[in-house]
């Protein structure tokens, strides 16, 4: 761990967790659990599974926290652990991952302003409604920022499959966006579509 972070409260918390101090572990849990539980909710099939992911993820964090090197942000390190935990769950539960390529489908984002009408919880519900394969690829690509090569290695699929699944996920999400909160703006969408989005 670098000395540059040695004096930060976060670093002190990490060092105390390395020593196995329970109070420090609880402090770290309370500090990061809300953000990490949101990640679990994005990847999980349901709330209970998200709970399992959160529990399993924190167990891993406390087991391996001594291996953390302050080369990146601690929160980023935590996020990777939880994302990886979710992927492992996904691989276990979906051994027969759908490897069939899905044809790429064009999507049209007619009115960006309509998206702003949606709350984060609405968007989370939309993501959760995706099938596990689409949801995982969309989360990894769109939210976490992995590229298709990384995703293909993580999930054991081809890059083409990853791209196709992302495209399908986008189409489904767009439809949900349109049908969920944009009814009053539907006229605006159609107008924009007719004018070619200009």
């Amino acid at each position: 761990m670098s000395n540059t972070h040695a004096s930060s409260p976060e670093q002190a918390l990490i060092q105390a967790c390395c020593r196995g101090e329970r109070a420090a572990q609880q402090g770290l849990y309370e500090r990061y659990a809300p953000r990490l539980f949101a990640i679990c909710l994005r990847y999980a099939d349901d709330y209970h599974q998200a709970e399992d992911l959160l529990q399993e993820g924190f167990l891993k964090v406390f087991r391996h926290i001594a291996n953390f090197r302050a080369e990146g942000s601690f929160e980023g390190w935590l996020r990777r652990i939880f994302v990886n935990t979710a992927i492992e769950h996904h691989r276990r539960r979906h051994h027969l991952y759908p490897l069939v390529d899905v044809a790429d489908t064009e999507i049209e984002l007619h009115d960006e302003g309509a998206l702003q009408q949606l709350a984060a919880s609405d968007l989370l519900d939309m993501v959760n409604s995706l099938s596990p394969g689409y949801r995982t690829v969309f989360n990894l690509y769109a939210i976490e920022g992995y590229n298709h090569k990384d995703i293909s290695e993580m999930l054991g699929i081809s890059e083409g499959t990853s791209k196709s699944q992302l495209a399908r996920a986008r189409v489904i999400l767009q439809r949900k966006v349109e049908s969920a909160g944009m009814r009053e703006r539907a006229g605006g969408f159609r107008e924009l579509k007719r004018t070619g989005g200009a």
Binding site: G20, R22, Q25, Q26, Y29, E30, A33, P34, F37, A38, R42, H48, Q49, E51, D52, L54, Q55, L59, K60, F62, R63, H64, A66, N67, G76, W77, R80, I81, V83, N84, T85, I87, E88, H89, R91, H95, E106, I107, E108, L109, E112, L115, L118, A120, L123, L124, V127, F138, A142, I143, G145, E153, M154, G156, L166, A167, R170, L173, V177, G197
Partner: protein
């Protein structure tokens, strides 16, 4: 169409960005009571750091023991030829001691030992001298000795081994000096040099051969006509049991129970004989399949599932070992060797199967590996300048091979291999 695709991709990115902006920093209330469960589970777990420290200590202890073993072998090693010279010099001192009686039992034994020792031409002179200490007719027979020495010196001059040459020339010179002294000595007609030299003829014949065979080199030479260099080369195959000694080596965040798996290796081998007892051996193991199987239990609220994973690692390896002969082999017999050294490995390919289904390639393993190597070989002489090496090798990666997995957790991994090996080798002809 291309325009539409570009437009579609752009729209897709905007959708992605929108979801990311809203969900990336989204927070959700953690479930109540979860910390209590976590705390209970943490109470049941052993501290991780102490386990790693123990593993590291064990590794360094083994490495230290290995180093001490090799050092002890090397430092205590004295070539057999040198031992023979020292023994001969001791016998010589005894046989030629001016304080000793010429016919004392001790001197007799020394003379017999000298006679049996077939190490150099000087022994022939010493033997003759001991039996003709005061023999006047010996002067007439001195020519025979001269002839014998000349013969051996010529053997030495064209000898196949520089060691033999270095050892024999000074001894022959000493023998020459003693012979000149013998020419001036009084004679003893009771002993003849003919009788002394007669049994030496086979000894002289033996003198012309190199030292005790190493890796059947001399048997090979006797069966073939060409002179041989110190180099040999061959092909090798291994059947090996392999495992990865650290938990979590496939996936750093997963608790797994590693099990041994079966692998194999094949490649070419080459060696250089340093002296009569040691040789350096290297080679190129084209493909060495290692890896491990894992049984992992997934515990969740609703399920507990056992998952078996199989990780196969394919390395290209370059071993560098020192072979030290154990004991003194007899002609046409098996010679045993201790083997120790290091082995560099480059990971060429890896495959992971979960429940016998191929999944993502394992990209978290480090590409380069350095291992300590121990083993034994039994070298069996064959015809046509060849010999067969049968033995075993045990290796463990000495470097802390780091895993940098998707989750950012880095863990040590130690490849452990126990293999049974067969190599068919042949001596290369000398230039």
């Amino acid at each position: 169409m291309e325009h539409n695709s570009g437009h579609s991709a752009n729209s897709g990115r905007k959708l992605d960005d929108f979801f990311r902006q809203h969900l990336d920093q989204h927070q959700a209330g953690a479930p109540e009571g979860l910390w209590s469960k976590l705390s209970e589970q943490l109470d049941q777990e052993p501290p991780m750091a102490s386990g790693q420290a123990l593993q590291s200590a064990l590794l360094w202890r083994n490495a230290l023991m290995f180093g001490l073993l090799i050092s002890a072998v090397v430092l205590n090693y004295r070539p057999t030829a040198m031992q023979g010279v020292e023994a001969f010099q001791g016998l010589e001192a005894l046989a030629w001691s001016p304080e000793a009686e010429s016919s004392s039992p001790v001197q007799e034994i020394a003379a017999v030992e000298l006679n049996q020792d077939s190490h150099s031409s000087y022994r022939v002179a010493a033997r003759a001298e001991s039996m003709t200490a005061s023999s006047a007719p010996a002067q007439a027979e001195a020519t025979l000795i001269m002839t014998a020495q000349t013969s051996i010196e010529s053997e030495v001059a064209v000898g196949t081994s520089s060691e033999i040459q270095a050892e024999h020339v000074p001894l022959a010179e000493q023998g020459q000096a003693r012979e000149e002294a013998l020419a001036d000595a009084p004679s003893d007609p009771s002993t003849t040099l003919h009788s002394a030299l007669a049994p030496q003829e086979h000894v002289l014949a033996a003198q012309s051969a190199p030292e005790q065979p190493l890796f059947s080199r001399d048997e090979a030479k006797s069966s073939g006509s060409a002179s041989l260099s110190r180099w040999y080369t061959g092909l090798q195959v291994s059947l090996q049991w392999t495992g990865l000694l650290s938990q979590g080596s496939q996936s750093a965040t997963e608790d797994m129970d590693p099990m041994l798996s079966l692998g194999q290796a094949f490649g070419v081998v080459g060696g250089f004989r340093l002296n009569e007892r040691m040789s350096l051996e290297s080679g190129l193991i084209i493909d060495s399949r290692q890896g491990s199987r894992y049984s992992s239990t997934v515990v969740a609220r609703k399920e507990e599932v056992d998952v078996t994973k199989s990780l196969a690692l394919h390395y290209t390896q370059v071993p560098l070992t020192l072979k030290v002969r154990a004991g003194v082999p007899q002609n046409h017999s098996v010679s045993w060797h201790y083997v120790g050294g290091v082995q560099y490995g480059m990971l060429r390919n890896s495959r992971l199967h979960i429940e016998n289904k191929p999944v993502s390639p394992e990209r978290n393993l480090r590409e380069h590996d350095l291992a300590l190597l121990l083993g034994m070989d039994a070298d069996i002489p064959l015809q046509n300048q060849m010999f067969l090496s049968l033995g075993w090798r045990a290796s463990m990666s000495a470097t802390s091979t780091r895993l940098n997995s998707v989750d950012g957790i880095e863990r040590d991994k130690h490849n452990a291999v126990l293999g049974f090996r067969a190599a068919l080798n042949g001596w290369l002809p000398a230039r």
